[in-house]
């Protein structure tokens, strides 16, 4: 029996319109054999969380380039906790170095991919996190 495909939700919370990274990562994960849903722009945290639950995804990827990642990550993680869901969340975008430990340790973001990250590294990490 073949293994179930990893299912990933790529989401853009907030008002940021820059979707190049989200689409490129979504395509790379799809090419790596995963099932990928991309939400499009302007999604609210509760919309993201309820879609993730409805679709039973193994991982959520957030893409934010407007400097609002701390706010939106906090909100998404809060909604996940409220829903009692344990879905790993990764973040891609323009993040400061000193924010990365805060995002990981305090907010519980599983991994952060700043500009210059390689697709192969993202794919690998998503596979690890999704199978956990």
């Amino acid at each position: 029996m073949s293994e179930r495909k990893i299912k990933v939700l790529i989401a853009k919370p907030g008002l940021d319109g820059h979707d190049r990274g989200a689409k490129v990562v979504a395509t790379a994960l799809k090419e790596a054999g995963m099932e990928v849903i991309y939400t499009g722009r302007f999604k609210k945290p509760d919309e993201i969380v309820s879609l993730a639950l409805k679709e039973k995804v193994d991982l959520i990827g957030l893409s934010i380039l407007s400097g609002t990642h701390m706010h939106w990550c906090r909100e998404v993680m809060k909604k996940l906790r409220e829903a009692g869901a344990d879905i790993p969340v990764i973040l891609g975008g323009i993040v400061l170095d000193d924010e990365i430990p805060v995002l990981k340790e305090e907010l519980g973001i599983a991994e952060v991919f700043p500009p210059g990250s390689k697709l192969q590294d993202i794919v690998k990490r998503v596979e690890e996190l999704a199978k956990r």
């Binding site: 907030g14 008002l15 940021d16 319109g17 820059h18 979707d19 190049r20 689409k23 490129v24 979504a26 395509t27 790379a28 991309y38 939400t39 499009g40 722009r41 302007f42 609210k44 407007s66 400097g67 609002t68 706010h71 939106w72 909100e75 323009i94 400061l96 170095d97 700043p114 500009p115 210059g116 390689k118 697709l119 192969q120």
Partner: protein
């Protein structure tokens, strides 16, 4: 330009050279790459000769500066009389903070302004709207009403220094605030100097700040354009954007081709309103382009674009006024090719971009800052970007001669090649039913997403090189001494001010002007005079936008990837 006999002799000798010297050299050592091509995939030969431009006609294909088709430049003296305008995309936090940074840059020799607005302002939400939470003042300054605009412009002339308002979906409202502030100061409308982006089509394909469905968005963009060309001759009411399409993933040439298709749609929409081509063409023939990542492709691409636009205006649209054919170019160096690895190296990349733009004869430059991959710029990184443009302009000598690379066999050949490609892309969009139809179908979006992915693969396969990132990379922690952070109090501060502002106004008057605006939108009148009235009556950005949402509805994103 060359004698037939000479070309034959040249061809013969070149073949000999290939057969003997080149072959011998190749047998000793192969070339560095299997194939040499530009960033946009145009093959590049090892060497160019007059045979590569044998059909070029000096007078009709290059021409003197200031003469049709403007390949070498749109003005007869170009930078010998006036250097390119240096305007840095600037804004964050409150209006006062942005005003202060503007003054800082002007004090350091900046010659124009470029305004960055935060996302709530760009999407028509007041700072107290639930969707604005966390976004206020982050990527630009927060402007929700006329009192904020007064603070933004405090002690800055509206007719002696030009501004570029980088705003699209809400351009009619922000420009209305600009006009209202000029009216208050007594600056005549025909003296107001500047431009706005107002380029809504590329928001649908690339950047994402759209509000209303595309046909209604076009109508508002045209209301603004029509109003400005009639009342504000020194205002460029649209800036066609190659820039964001490239930043969203398209290569340089594809992005330029798509921007031309969009531009053609704007021209057609204005003609449909019954405006004669020569009454508006000059004011709307303004482009925002990326002058990166490749030196020669940028230079030739901008020369080709200038020539093709002149030809389209004359041949397709029948423009008679030479000014209608003059494409003016405002460049930015773009952020995509700047690395987070060893960020100071970005200063060198930006220098090359500024130099390419100067050699291409652009009208204005905005250089990104070396800390682009970390945050919005610090005062220092912004100053260095400004100094970069100044050093190229004042120290390198390249601004003393017009189109100094014109006539190079390679430059002219690549210019021709790019013009040909641009025509193909424009035709492909026309085959899809024109730009608006191609956007509705998601055709443009799909093409851009596909190229974005291909580019990322090319970077990872080292087909596109980024020194320090994918070549000669060394493991190290990237640290910048100082990185800019927006103060978290901004949101609270502007919300408090907004409450005070709302308390200070005559609610009846606000409602009356909003009702009139809604009526104008419903009945097809030009909305601009009504927006200006509403601004003066102290209606907020969010209130005006919402009124029009009631008429037009909100656009749904077509998610294509």
């Amino acid at each position: 330009m060359f004698d037939g006999k000479f070309l034959e002799e040249l061809k013969k000798r070149q073949e000999e050279w290939m057969e003997t010297r080149v072959k011998k050299a190749l047998s000793k050592a192969p070339e560095r790459k299997k194939e040499f091509k530009t960033f946009s995939g145009i093959p590049v030969k090892p060497f160019y000769t007059p045979n590569d431009i044998k059909d070029l006609d000096y007078f009709s294909d290059i021409a003197f500066p200031g003469e049709y088709p403007y390949t070498s430049g749109i003005y007869p003296l170009m930078y010998r009389s006036r250097l390119y305008t240096m305007r840095q995309y600037t804004g964050w936090g409150t209006a006062e903070e942005t005003n202060k940074r503007w003054k800082y840059l002007l004090a350091h020799g900046e010659t124009g302004l470029s305004a960055a607005f935060d996302l709530p302002t760009q999407l028509g939400y007041d700072p107290d709207h639930p969707l604005a939470k966390g976004e206020v003042g982050k990527v630009g300054c927060s402007i929700s009403n006329i009192s904020e605009y007064e603070l933004l412009y405090q002690d800055i002339s509206m007719d002696k220094i030009s501004v570029h308002l980088q705003v699209n979906a809400t351009a009619p409202f922000i420009v209305a605030m600009h006009i209202a502030e000029a009216d208050r100061r007594g600056v005549p409308r025909d003296r107001i100097w500047g431009a706005c982006q107002n380029e809504i089509l590329k928001e649908f394909v690339a950047r994402g700040t759209f509000i209303y469905p595309v046909e209604h968005s076009m109508r508002l963009a045209c209301d603004l354009m029509e109003f400005c060309v009639k009342q504000m001759p020194r205002w460029q009411p649209i800036t066609v954007c190659q820039y964001h399409i490239q930043e969203a993933g398209a290569d340089f040439v594809t992005a330029m081709g798509l921007s031309f298709a969009n531009a053609i749609s704007y021209v057609e929409a204005m003609l449909k309103r019954g405006l004669p081509i020569d009454s508006f063409a000059f004011n709307i023939s303004v482009w925002n382009c990326v002058c990166a990542p490749e030196f020669f492709e940028v230079i030739c691409g901008l020369r080709a674009a200038r020539r093709l636009w002149a030809r389209i205006m004359k041949d397709k649209f029948g423009a008679r006024d030479p000014r209608s054919c003059m494409m003016r170019i405002f460049v930015g160096s773009g952020g995509l090719h700047l690395t987070r690895a060893e960020p100071l190296n970005n200063i060198i990349r930006i220098t090359l971009s500024s130099l390419a733009a100067a050699l291409a004869g652009v009208q204005a430059q905005n250089m990104q800052c070396y800390d682009e991959a970390f945050a919005i710029p610090t005062e220092e990184s912004m100053r260095i970007a400004l100094r970069t443009m100044q050093i190229v302009a004042y120290e390198s000598g390249v601004t003393d001669v017009i189109d100094p690379l014109g006539g190079s066999y390679f430059v002219e050949s690549l210019t021709n090649e790019i013009e040909k490609k641009l025509r193909e892309i424009i035709q492909a969009v026309e085959d899809e039913g024109g730009a608006i139809e191609a956007i509705r179908k998601g055709w443009m979006q799909r093409l851009i997403a596909k190229q974005a992915y291909e580019q990322q693969k090319r970077i990872e396969e080292k087909d596109i090189i980024r020194v320090g990132e994918n070549l000669f990379a060394v493991e190290r922690e990237e640290k910048l001494e100082s990185v800019f952070k927006v103060s978290p109090e901004v949101e609270e501060q502007v919300i408090e001010r907004l409450e005070k502002f709302k308390a200070s106004r005559d609610g009846k008057q606000v409602e009356e002007t909003l009702a009139k605006l809604q009526k104008a939108a419903e009945t097809g009148k030009n909305t601009m005079p009504y927006i200006i009235d509403a601004v003066k009556a102290k209606a907020t950005l969010g209130e005006m936008c919402e009124r029009l949402v009631q008429v037009f509805g909100r656009a749904e994103e077509m998610v294509v990837w």
